[in-house]
Amino acid sequence: MECFIFEAAEKCLGIEIEYIYRIADDIQVTPVPLAPPCYRGVIYFRGDLFDVVDVGSLMGGERSLLNGNPYIILLKWGQRKLGLISDKIIGITWIENNNGSRTVFTKEGRTVELITPEEIYKILSKLAYGP
């Protein structure tokens, strides 16, 4: 399968390419009060609103330093939309049949942890929003 690879929380993470809607750049993230620290805000892109989350911070790592407007990985699946801020974008890589394993290896020898948008969303849903 084709995977979109990026770095966050000192890990290499991969998301199946079918969930990637667009990589947005030069879009300012609007912060929202009462949200957990990993929730960086919202963006309006091509008629849709995306919740934007800092994957590093979500995974328990350091909060990404937003220098200027970072690249945002936009995901769309079902009715849901999510934007991810990563530490570094690696790119698209073909991964051989992973036989259901969550840890895979790229041809370049990189160890990648596969994650689905729904898993990210579930973690986000468990966090506290509000006063």
Partner: protein, 519 residues
């Protein structure tokens, strides 16, 4: 009620149905035994009849009724349609166009003659038609003026997206010195951007749909349900001209389907029962749309038998459990809200007794997902009313946009009485202000209040009510009083319970619209 406004909507809608009717009649002419086509023809005529009846347009309703009678017989296969029968229905549809354009007025002696001819023939059985047929000289009707087009919703989304992307180009404009850019060119770029932003905003308005159009989606459903449950049901729409985001209305399709089904199946009594009870034979469902502040209010009411209180009492006693005294002390809205509980709906027998079908919890969930709320009012033998309150999503509202700490926030302009300048707020003064920053968890160190917003109506903040001192709160800076395209919150932000939506400004920037009722 502004009758003229509804008549205008009727003309628009009926003309659309009549254009579609022409096409299906022509198809039927080439496929006479196709009962599905006759069903479609019947449906279109029935929709026009329903609207005409609601507006007391007797001629149109009468002609539709006669045409419907024939269609029913063809649809049911009782009588085989003939080419002449189709021709008569086409003539009837042409006459309907004249009547619709004239708002039930026949307009000319020649049309009156045509009216007499068509209604006389339709009064007989289609079998009789062949005996009456005489060659006629017919005018060939010209296609009506094209004054509207149907556009795929996704195309509107695409256009919106494109215009936004062009706007974003401004942000990528390289910094140019005075030597590199003339004043004239700068003015030209500014004008260009200003027009582009206006265009983007106008495009955004294409996403809005009148409530009337939404209601007409259910015409056929109501007809089919009424037939299935042997009910005589009429639909009335109030405030149908109100324009609401298509996305929101689309999410309301399912809940409305449940509400209508329940009203027809369990609320409205069979015609004989209604007559015995001193009611009109025809039950009435009224859908009322209204805009209050930053909320959309949709009321669905019927004049049926009402919700049976004993079933709810039984549920509260057995399932919660509550005592008779506790139940008697419950406010009505709280009492009726019991039918929205998951286990109430699953108790099929109880629900049927209550006069509401299963699925009330599904409706409550769907409304909750849209960050809305629902209240129920019901009176025995008088009927039931469901009032749904939803944040006005994707509508255009005017709002005061302001900065507080690092956040860009907004509240509807209608809530604001005045904006005052302030140098600094002393600790003695601070008690007189509502601490919005603190309520929103905004670090006091990041705030530099320069303006005070005084609210027109204190909607529940700190328990303040009308008549008490108006609520005032400090903000760092006012960005402006401007139109915002308000979009619904996602699931995550909705959980904060403090926001009404996300407002998009004309330049594409975002502000978070506060829900003043919840703060």
């Amino acid at each position: 009620m502004d009758l003229e406004k509804y008549k205008k909507i009727f003309v628009q809608e009926s003309s659309k149905y009549l254009d579609e009717l022409d096409i299906i009649l022509i198809k039927a002419e080439n496929d006479l035994p196709n009962q599905q086509l006759w069903g479609e023809i019947h449906g279109k005529i029935h929709s026009i009849k329903g609207m005409a009846k609601a507006l007391n347009m007797e001629k149109i309703a009468g002609l539709c009724h006669s045409m419907e009678d024939w269609c029913k017989q063809f649809q049911g296969g009782d009588i085989k349609p003939s080419g002449d029968a189709v021709q008569l229905l086409i003539d009837g549809a042409d006459l309907l166009k004249v009547l619709v354009a004239g708002k039930d007025d026949v307009r000319s002696p020649q049309n009156l003659k045509e009216w007499d001819r068509i209604t006389a023939r339709l009064a007989n059985s289609p079998d009789e038609l062949v005996k009456h047929v005489t060659p006629e000289v017919r005018l060939v009707s010209s296609p009506s003026k094209i004054d509207r087009i149907r556009v795929d919703y996704s195309l509107i989304e695409e256009l919106l997206a494109r215009s936004q992307e062009i706007m974003l180009l401004e942000k990528r404009l390289p910094p140019l010195s005075q030597d590199q850019i003339s004043t004239g060119l700068r003015i030209w770029i500014d004008n260009y951007m200003s027009m582009l932003k206006g265009l983007h905003f106008q495009l955004a308005r294409l996403r809005l749909m009148p409530v009337n159009d939404f209601v007409y989606l259910f015409e056929k459903t109501i007809r089919d349900l009424a037939k299935k449950y042997n009910r005589d049901v009429g639909l009335e729409v109030v405030g149908g001209e109100l324009e609401v985001d298509i996305g929101l209305l689309d999410r309301l399709r399912e809940p409305f389907m449940h509400l209508l089904r329940n009203s027809i199946a369990h609320g409205i009594e069979p015609p004989d029962e209604r007559v015995k009870g001193g009611k009109n034979q025809e039950g009435k469902i009224v859908l009322e749309a209204d805009k209050r502040g930053d909320s959309l209010i949709l009321k669905v009411s019927d004049d049926g038998r009402g919700i049976d209180r004993t079933a709810i009492t039984k549920y509260l006693k057995n399932k919660i459990p509550m005592s008779d005294e506790e139940i008697s002390r419950m406010p009505d809205d709280e009492f009726f809200n019991a039918i929205l509980s998951v286990d109430f709906s699953s108790t099929h027998g109880t629900t049927q007794l209550a006069g509401r079908g299963i699925g009330m919890d599904v409706i409550a969930r769907a409304i909750g997902y849209l960050n809305g709320s629902m209240t129920i009012h019901s009176e025995p033998s008088k009927g039931t009313q469901f009032t749904i309150r939803l944040p006005l999503s994707l509508s255009i509202i005017y709002a005061i946009v302001f900065k507080l700490g690092e956040y860009t926030l907004s509240i509807p302009t209608s809530n604001v009485a005045s904006i005052e300048r302030t140098e600094a707020i002393s600790s003695e003064q601070s008690g007189a202000f509502y601490d919005l920053g603190d309520r929103l968890g905004i670090d006091a160190q990041t705030r530099k209040p320069t303006r005070i917003l005084k609210l027109r109506q204190p909607p529940g903040i700190n328990g303040a009510t009308a008549g008490e001192t108006p609520v005032r709160f400090a903000v760092d800076a006012i960005i402006g009083n401007m139109p915002l395209m308000v979009m619904p919150l996602g699931e995550l932000l909705a959980r904060a319970g403090s926001f009404a939506g996300v407002g998009i400004m004309e330049n594409g920037d975002i502000s978070i619209l506060l829900d003043m009722d919840k703060l």
